[in-house]
């Protein structure tokens, strides 16, 4: 610690925040209290720069079972069942140590879901790295993918989907967002609020060590810079076996109705879980740190309270059931210790062997952090760089192959084959078979679909429109498998909100999210915010990762991406108006600039409904939303997946204002590429583009017409493994 700097500043508190703490306590905080305040008043825990904005989001809906504020959101899926889901970031730990950072990101999101009594049934991941020609990016990608696989595979929860983008601004600050889906009997679900004065507080799972101390304030709420290696000890180490036992144990305890409430220990460890449980229940809590099982005997009370050791849960239990609870913990060979009591009076008291070493009003600790208004200002134009990688004068064939082999577009098979995508026997569509992951729910008699999306580059071009597009893309992906949206969650990964441009991006993105959700009638049931994602070269692309869960009646009638049959007609459905603005092609040409065309959310929603109905009726052989790389890439992807060529013409798009180049590679929301019987496509009002057949992808586009062999297209699209391993870059 630097001599002369007050301790509270080293811990990330501002002078005025510290003064407020002193005022609320009526005295200076001691070390235990200061450590606890510094964590719960960090951006990561208090959402102090985002909470006011998040009030714009619609959170109500008739299917909502649990909304924001709980460990995870949940929606009703039919029968007596609910699906819980949440996405959370683990960006800064992953940038420091990608394997453990990503692994514990998965571990943490799993705990959030089983904390509400839902059995985790699926994991998805949204990852962002710098360009793959950088050694650092390949190292981070490899570590993060291995870490996700290590944790998810070992605990036996299927990783069914996700997305990976590679963009320069993530070079120093990669993003690792993990999502978990859980399934529960609605009646067995539990909230996190502590209740019942005199009830016991039981800590379950792993013992508490010095790992992750200060992670929330030091890592999660400050910009990354030089010397990050020194922060490695603050990254937690994951143990999926410990979590597997803990998960089974918690689910058995909940099924037997033995817990009053349950909360996971994540960022800020015991401090945040005890504080939040007490706050939600309007009660106080006494914690005796001497009763916490430790890995190192000489830990100080403040260390015990802020440790981020993984695989721990905190439960409130009625005193006469504690013995039964501990017996079940023993059966699962997971630790348990009665470490405290629910009290009256709204104080959180930390004791050591009965002696009080810290005492704070719960309200001050958990809800007392000041919330800040942002000071947004729109930056002047494009604030990120441009790097040309595609030679001027490239032919349309060269352009298509360059797009197909772009790491952000290329097949992610290299990554997803490192994940167990089938354990649990619910996976009806494996990764890349369809635009959304599809999981059957035999208990409820139907299935759910899940999509996770967020193209940071487009959000950087236009934070409002880019975020609207992320929501629309999720809705379109769900429509392609015949699913109707039930709810949405998100993870807002942004730069420094105290800088005017960062504040503007966040403000506009949240407005876009709110407007799109309102227009689609999809409630936001939870979310996570990760700010200060900046490296030495500046902020990341603003990256709102949106995850949507939908319901479909019959998992046997799910359309895939692949063209199925020679002779089938190929058509375009929806109000797709392609533009090169913000596109992958514009990126490769080094022509990115601010601004995206406005989209018409209502007509996209109508198109989703048309496609959804057609898929449910079994009228489409394939359905694929037009996304990165535009229509030509979507066509090539369907052809490669089906191992069959096609002959199409996209010149009709001139009527929509798209010149041949934009018709091929322009991007924008609202487009569905479908195939099937010609009559069925005509019935949908699809614009007919051509036919499935042959061994070439031939696209007529006036003077930009192109033809490539299926083999060439496939080789380009399957080139990620070589690029990721560093032999192709």
């Amino acid at each position: 610690m630097t001599v002369g700097t007050p301790k509270y500043r080293e811990l990330g508190l501002t002078d005025s925040e510290y003064e407020l703490i002193v005022e609320k306590l009526g005295r200076e905080p001691n070390d235990v209290e200061l450590a606890m305040f510094s964590l719960l008043w960090s951006e990561h825990c208090a959402y102090k720069h985002s909470r006011k904005l998040l009030r714009r989001l619609p959170t109500e809906g008739e299917r909502v079972v649990m909304g924001p504020g709980e460990n995870a959101g949940a929606v009703a899926v039919g029968g007596d069942y609910a699906v819980a889901f949440k996405v959370e970031s683990h960006n800064h730990p992953s940038a420091v140590e990608p394997f453990q950072g990503a692994a514990t990101g998965v571990g943490g999101i799993l705990r959030d879901v089983f904390a509400i009594g839902a059995r985790p049934i699926a994991i998805l991941d949204s990852l962002r790295f710098g360009e793959l020609d950088s050694v650092r990016s390949r190292h981070l990608l490899d570590g993060a993918v291995r870490g996700i696989g290590h944790y998810g595979n070992s605990i036996g929860v299927a990783t069914v989907g996700g997305e990976i983008y590679f963009e320069e601004p993530y070079e120093h600050n990669c993003l690792v967002n993990a999502m978990c889906i859980g399934f529960a009997k609605t009646a067995d679900m539990v909230r996190a609020a502590a209740a019942g004065v005199g009830n016991s507080v039981v800590l379950m799972g792993a013992s508490t060590g010095r790992d992750g101390i200060g992670g929330a304030s030091v890592l999660a709420s400050a910009e990354l810079g030089e010397g990050d290696e020194a922060k490695r000890p603050t990254v937690q180490i994951g143990d999926p076996f410990e979590e597997s036992k803990l998960m089974e144990c918690c689910l058995e305890l909940l099924e037997k109705g033995l817990l009053v409430s349950l909360q996971d220990l994540g960022a800020a460890g015991l401090t945040s879980s005890a504080g939040e449980m007490a706050s939600a229940g309007g009660v106080g809590i006494d914690i005796d740190v001497a009763r916490v099982p430790l890995r190192e005997a000489d830990m100080e009370p403040f260390e015990i309270m802020v440790s981020e050791s993984q695989e721990r849960m905190l439960a409130v239990v009625e005193p006469d059931r504690v013995a039964e609870v501990r017996a079940i913990c023993e059966k699962w060979q997971t630790g348990s210790a009665e470490i405290g009591t629910v009290t009256e009076g709204g104080l959180i008291r930390i004791l050591r062997d009965g002696e009080v070493v810290g005492e704070m009003p719960v309200e001050a600790l958990v809800d007392g952090c000041p919330l800040y208004d942002l000071d947004p200002a729109e930056p002047d134009g494009w604030i990120y760089g441009n790097r040309q990688t595609l030679a001027a004068g490239a032919t349309p064939e060269q352009e298509l192959l360059a797009l197909l082999s772009a790491p952000s577009i290329a097949s992610k098979r290299w990554a997803f084959e490192q994940y167990d995508s089938i354990v649990g026997s619910r996976t009806v569509r494996r990764p890349e078979q369809a635009d959304a992951a599809v999981l059957r729910l035999p208990e409820a008699g139907n299935a759910i679909a899940v999509s996770i999306d967020g193209n940071g580059r487009r959000v950087a071009c236009d934070p409002y429109e880019g975020t609207v597009e992320a929501v629309l893309e999720c809705a379109q992906n769900l429509a392609c498998v015949g699913a109707e949206p039930l709810g949405l969650t998100n993870c807002l990964n942004f730069g420094n909100p105290e800088k005017p441009a960062g504040a503007w991006q966040l403000d506009r993105a949240v407005s876009g999210l709110a407007d799109a959700c309102n227009a689609l009638g999809v409630p936001v049931v939870g979310g996570n915010v990760s700010l200060y994602n900046e490296g030495p070269d500046g902020p990341i692309y603003p990256t709102p990762v949106v995850a949507m869960v939908g319901e479909l009646p019959d998992p046997a009638r799910v359309a895939g991406v692949a063209f199925v049959r020679e002779g089938n007609a190929i058509g375009l459905v929806g109000p797709f108006e392609p533009s090169l603005a913000g596109s992958e092609l514009a990126k490769q040409r080094g022509e990115l600039r601010a601004g995206l065309p406005r989209s018409d959310v209502t007509s996209v929603a109508e198109a989703c409904e048309v496609v959804r109905a057609a898929v449910r009726a079994g009228k489409l052989a394939s359905a694929h939303d037009v996304s990165d790389g535009g229509l030509a890439v979507a066509i090539a992807e369907s052809a490669i997946a089906g191992a069959v060529g096609c002959e199409v013409n996209v010149e009709h798009l001139r009527e929509r204002g798209a010149q041949p180049e934009a018709a091929l590679f322009g991007e924008g929301p609202g487009g569905f590429l479908v195939s099937g019987e010609r009559a069925a496509l005509e019935e949908l009002g699809a614009t007919l583009l051509g036919e499935v057949g042959g061994e070439r992808v031939e696209i007529g586009a006036g003077d930009r017409s192109l033809a490539v062999s299926l083999a060439e297209a496939s080789e380009a699209w399957r080139s990620l493994a070589a690029q990721a391993e560093g032999d192709g870059a």
Binding site: N153, S154, I155, F241, S244, F416, Y419, I422
Partner: protein, 222 residues
């Protein structure tokens, strides 16, 4: 036929195996790892996963569990025992099957659909594989003996041996043919909706003793 499916701390595919057994047989139940009593089942599945975390070596701790003692005794008495993935590793560690499973040649966990060829009949099965330590290994003389005895039950089809197993071996039996270890997951191939139904054939053949008929040292039959 009633199947029992062992459940260790760290098992992952025990519910999938239970479901597959229910589809195949007349019922199935989980057998807790601390139980020495197999509860009257007619066959046992040692399922996939990471028993006891597998931090030491895959299957190295599970082999000492009370339930595995019961399985060893039942196997000696001729009961059908199917070890899948981690279960295969456990059976090798326990000495109920020959050989060992080493880390995949590419040193990465891989989950994908593979084609298997059933020894003898030549039948092809499409079944998912998912493991990081699935490279079958045994000394040459052991392999010769296994082949002579007809103890090689399944091989990876050409182009499907991604883990580097010797002689493309995906599954082996004990000499008697009542204990089968298989690296790919037949319990994940019992329903067209989630892939294929080819896995049911494995349960079926083991259940009716079809692998036993090969253990005569002569050329394998169907």
């Amino acid at each position: 036929m009633i199947w029992g499916v062992l459940q260790f701390p760290g098992s992952c595919d025990e519910r999938d195996a239970l479901r597959a057994c229910e589809i195949h047989g007349d019922g199935a139940r989980l057998v807790w790892h601390e139980s020495r009593d197999l509860d009257g089942v007619d066959g046992v599945v040692v399922p996939g996963g990471f028993s006891y975390g597998d931090y030491l070596r895959a299957g190295a701790i599970a082999r000492f569990s009370p339930a595995m003692e019961a399985v060893a005794a039942a196997a000696a008495a001729g009961m059908p025992v199917l070890g899948i993935c981690n279960g295969f590793q456990v059976l090798c560690e326990a000495g109920l099957l020959p050989g060992a499973l080493l880390r995949n040649v590419e040193l990465r966990f891989r989950c994908h659909q593979v084609e298997l060829v059933e020894e003898g009949s030549g039948e092809r099965l499409s079944i998912p594989a998912k493991h990081g330590e699935g490279r079958y290994y045994a000394p040459e003389e052991t392999l010769d003996r296994l082949e002579a005895n007809g103890q090689v039950a399944y091989r990876y089809a050409d182009g499907h041996n991604s883990n580097g197993s010797v002689r493309d071996i995906a599954g082996v039996t004990n000499e008697r043919g009542n204990v089968l270890g298989l690296m790919p997951h037949p319990e994940h191939a019992v329903d067209l909706l989630t892939g294929s139904t080819d896995g049911l054939r494995v349960f079926d053949r083991l259940g009716r003793g079809a692998f036993a008929s090969q253990g005569d040292g002569k050329a394998p039959r169907g």
